[in-house]
Each structure stands twice: as structure tokens, then as C-alpha cells.
Symmetry: C2
Subunit: 330 residues, 2 copies
């Protein structure tokens, strides 16, 4: 797969420069780091929300920095956790003296580096907590579940709560409730290509797909024959709704996420069937997102996320935000 890049070694550095030069009214980059912060940070008296992770998932996470979502995001190298010292630096930079929540995806490297930063910050008297996003039902053992697209709903709801002036405990509590009530699963139709190597991470035949992919170009848990949009929707919906124990009368937020190289036409065709499956199960949809907020470089594919809602989450989903790339919720 050809790419629009200069020296691939500088792709992450250059894209972060690109991001802040396009959105200079609202974002700034801390010089010499891969930390993107709200231009108006620190917001004194507000709980700060920080996330981060490997690059290659754009716009997640740096594109979600702004009022109502993240105070800071730290980008690692492609598919690599950001260094602990940069996470610590981000905490110090945006700390509004009323507590910090770290939203961490469940990958060994991220957990280790965020924990290190959290301990350093706590040692300095910063009131800091974390939540771990693990929405990927493709992995059966719960503690091994990866954090995938569902994390953006955690960020949205926790971000809105913090923006409204809630305490750290209240923000952490609603973030954890979102995690407990959301599940995701995805399929890949093509492998992605790392900028440095220029080669696809695996080979997949013209009539094959991977079911249960992560967001780091991994293969899925199973390789099958390529299926129709409706068949894919059914596979993902069944796995998620069973795991989440969705029942008649539940109300959900629906997130359909493209993996980077899948056009919106296909996401909308896929969504149509998901909406029908939810209607047939008498589960109502409060709001929907279909787009590509959490990508895996140039992988073709789609993931489905469902979040069972309560009244507080619904209110937070509709709260205003101002970030370059958080998807619209209308």
C-alpha cells in the first residue's frame, strides 16, 4: 500500500506538527514531546482527563483533545505505548488542581507506562486515578480484553462530566460505568502496512476476512470466507449483545467504526443492518456514530460497539464539545 509520507521515521512527529498547525486556535504541542494539550490548559478547578497510546489510530487520541473531551493526549510511536515520562509530563502540564483521570487502553505497554506516571504524580500529591478500557469481546478471557473503539465513548462521557465541574470520584465512577456497559468487536478485510516497512502485516486472500481483529494490525481470532455486510453485522451483533446481556427495553449508543481504509458508503450499508437487528431485539438506539474515529493505519474493516445507557450517560453524550475530530453526536 502506497502512502503519502516523507521519511517514514518522522511520520508521527510530522503528523503531530500538522495537527497543531491546522488547529492552532485550540491545540498546542509541548515542544520536544508527543504531548498535545488544550491550548487553554490548565483549567483550574476542573478534573483533567488524559489518554494516549500508540499512533496509527488517528484521529484517536490526539484529535480528541479539546473542551469537553481530553485535556491532553500523548502519542507513542506507531502501535507503541507512549513513554511514562511523557505521560507524567502531560499530567503536570494540564493538572487543574482538582484531580486527574487517566483513561488507559488494556495493553501491557500502556498499562505499565501509565501506572509509572500515575505513581510519580501521586508521589507529588496530585489526586489521580485511572480506568482501564477493555471492550473487545473477541478475546474471551475478560482480563485480557483489549481496549478498542469503545474507549471514545468513555472519553466523551467522562470528558463531559469533568467539563461540568464534577469531582474526580464522580468522573471516574461514570467512566467505569461506561466501560462496564460497552462491548466491541471488529473484522478486517485487509492487513495494514507499517510506514517504516511498507509491507502488509499479514496476507489475506481475495475471498477471506479476519474476524475479531484488534487495532494494531493483528490478525483476528478466526479467519473465514468473506461475508456480506448483513452477515458481518449479525456475527458482531450476536457476540456483543450476548456478552453485554442486552435485553428488551435497553437503550444503547451505537458506534460503527471504520478501520482506516473503509469508505463511509460501506459503513452505512453495514449500519443499516445493525439498526434492524437492534429493532428486532426491541433495543432502542439513543444516538449513533458511524465514521472512522479509531483506525488501524490503512486496514480495511469495521468494528461495532454498543453501550447500554443510563440517564446520566445520555445527558453527557449530548453535552457540547469542541475538538477537531471527535465524531458528531446529533
Amino acid at each position: 500500500m502506497k502512502k503519502i509520507l516523507n521519511d517514514p521515521s518522522y511520520a508521527v512527529d510530522e503528523e503531530l506538527d500538522g495537527l497543531v498547525s491546522l488547529y492552532r486556535n485550540s491545540l498546542r504541542r509541548i515542544s520536544g514531546t508527543n504531548i498535545i494539550v488544550r491550548k487553554d490548559s490548565p483549567k483550574i478547578g476542573k478534573v483533567s482527563i488524559i489518554s494516549g497510546g500508540g499512533s496509527g489510530h488517528e484521529p484517536m487520541q490526539c484529535g480528541f483533545v479539546g473542551s469537553g473531551i481530553l485535556d491532553a493526549a500523548i502519542a507513542g510511536d506507531v502501535f507503541s505505548a507512549p513513554p511514562g515520562e511523557q505521560i507524567y509530563r502531560a499530567i503536570k502540564e494540564v493538572d487543574g488542581k482538582n484531580g486527574v483521570l487517566l483513561i488507559v487502553n488494556n495493553f501491557a505497554g500502556d498499562i505499565m507506562n501509565f501506572k509509572l506516571a500515575e505513581e510519580l504524580a501521586r508521589g507529588e500529591g496530585i489526586d489521580i486515578q485511572h480506568v482501564i478500557v477493555n471492550d473487545d469481546v473477541a478475546v474471551s478471557i475478560k482480563e485480557n480484553r483489549r481496549g478498542v473503539a469503545g474507549g471514545i465513548l468513555v472519553e466523551k462521557i467522562a470528558g463531559a462530566k469533568a467539563e461540568q465541574g464534577a469531582t474526580l470520584n464522580a468522573v471516574r465512577e461514570v467512566a467505569q460505568r461506561v466501560i462496564d456497559n460497552s462491548r466491541s468487536m471488529g473484522v478486517g478485510l485487509s492487513a495494514c502496512t507499517l510506514p517504516r516497512t511498507g509491507k502488509p502485516l499479514f496476507e489475506l486472500g481475495q475471498e477471506e476476512m479476519e474476524v475479531g481483529i484488534g487495532v494494531h494490525g493483528e490478525k483476528g481470532v478466526e479467519r473465514t470466507k468473506l461475508k456480506t455486510a448483513d452477515e458481518i453485522a449479525k456475527i458482531l451483533f450476536d457476540r456483543i449483545s450476548t456478552d453485554l446481556n442486552l435485553t428488551l427495553g435497553d437503550e444503547v449508543a451505537l458506534l460503527v467504526n471504520g478501520m482506516g481504509a473503509t469508505p463511509l458508503m460501506e459503513l452505512l450499508v453495514f449500519s443499516r443492518n445493525v439498526v434492524e437487528l437492534l429493532a428486532a431485539a426491541q433495543i432502542s438506539i439513543f444516538r449513533s456514530i458511524a465514521g472512522s474515529p479509531v483506525t488501524s493505519l490503512d486496514m480495511a474493516g469495521v468494528s461495532l460497539t454498543l453501550l447500554r445507557l443510563d440517564e446520566e450517560m445520555k445527558e453527557m453524550l449530548l453535552a457540547p464539545e469542541s475538538t477537531p475530530y471527535f465524531p458528531k453526536i446529533i
Copy 2:
């Protein structure tokens, strides 16, 4: 290229169903047609803004229906103009009795069908005008220039003006001014694949790219060796800024548009250099968009659009809108 579809013959029908089922609070589809309208239409007393064109460019145009942008959009089949009778039907449906503006891309089929609908509507006493978008500088003869990504800036500015209660003449006048002051050009790194055939529209070597592509999967005006992001930015910037006669002190809106299969990482790397080129020319950027609002199915590639701004356009760019997919301007 594999696709997430059912029967490809129904791809457009199914994606429109998907769109309105996801965004049922704000959109509706007129039964038996490919017309998407604001749910709260007709808006009596407001000038109605209508656009449309072939499918395969999602989210353009149907994803831009909503408050502040379009009152209605009509989707043709993939890369085909919508039928005149559906355009006429859309006009009748959203007419708010204070005039209608059609925003038409400069393709023979679109021009013919929109003109037909316009004449029918005028015959019934509807006050109706049109503008023709022709921003593609890859074509040297001005009257043959295609309407590409720049059309979304016309829609945004005309849409905002109409929402504020301006007259049809005032809306048409500012729309024309946007057209007169905007230019676009793009490159393709891969061909797109039509849903019905499943085959790429042309073959391109691993080290080649097409310069001056349209948005219907056409080849460019020239095939060259694959260049770096910075080199591509320079080629497009030079052509556009010369044609637009940009001069020191001008203020522009910047639109970087991915063609469907290009991840945001690459668009941001490309954008970084465009911002540098503008700075070097002492042209200031008022606001930027980088995303994939105007696609060509699953083509990989990027286009650049620059719009020279005046005070009225700047005010309209910042006006609120509420559509599923119009890119954020922050």
C-alpha cells in the same frame, strides 16, 4: 479491493437507509426516492439550499443535510447524476416560499438534470437560481473545470447565509463569490473499485501516482513517479496559488481532503507542509479542515483546496451547523 456490501446493485439504496436510520432525529428520506431532506423541512421563510450528485463521494452530499448547510440532497447511482425528476421533487419538498438555490457540480449530467428541474420549478412560480462549482485547476480550460472538494465550502457559506435569513440574491451572490475565490487539485495513489464490477478502474504501478485526478475515479492529467508528501504539497500548492493569484496578505480557508482510503495520519503529514508553504508566502490561514468529506469510493489520494476569504465568508464559516458529517471548523 474487497468491500463490506450486500448485493452491490443495492449499495446506494442501502447506504441511504443506513444514513437515515442512524440519524433519524435530523434526517428523513422521501420514500421511493434517493432524496434526503432535513426532518424539519420545509423551513418557511428560509432560502432552501439543495445539492446532489453521484454516489461514491460519501459523506458528500447526503451527509451534509441539516441545519446550516443543505435542506435536501439527491443521490444518483455511483458516479451518475441524479435524475431530474427527483431533483424537482426535492425542490418541491423543501421549498420554504422564499427562494431556492441549487449548488451544482460542473459535470454534463448534473448540469442537464439540475437545469431541467430548475425550469420545471420556475414554471410553477418558484423563485429559483443556481451556481456551478468548478474548482478543479487540473483542467486548464476554465469552462471545463470539474466541481470537486471545494463545493463543500460553497455549501457551508451559502448554507449559513440562508440560515441567517438572507434573501436568495444575497445567498447566490456569496456562493458565487466562494466559487470565484476557490481552487482545488488532487493526486491519486490507487484507482477506486466500482461496487458492481469489483475491479479497479485503472492500474497504477507500485511507484506511480496520478496527478490531477477528479472525484469519479478518473485518471489524472499526468502520471508521475510517486513523490513524497512535501513534494505533492508543493505541486498542488503552486498550481492552486498561481491560478488563484494569491498574494501576500491574503487570508484563506484550507481544506485537505482524503479520497476515501487514505488514513488521517497521511493527511496530517501532508497538511504540515501546506501550512509551511502558506506561511512562507505570507498568506494567513483563518480556519482549516483536514478529513475525507469528498471521496472517490476507495481511492487512495489527497486533494488540496484553498479559498480566499473576505469578512462575510469568515463569519459564515464560523456559523453553527448541525449535520451528521460536515467537517468541524474550530
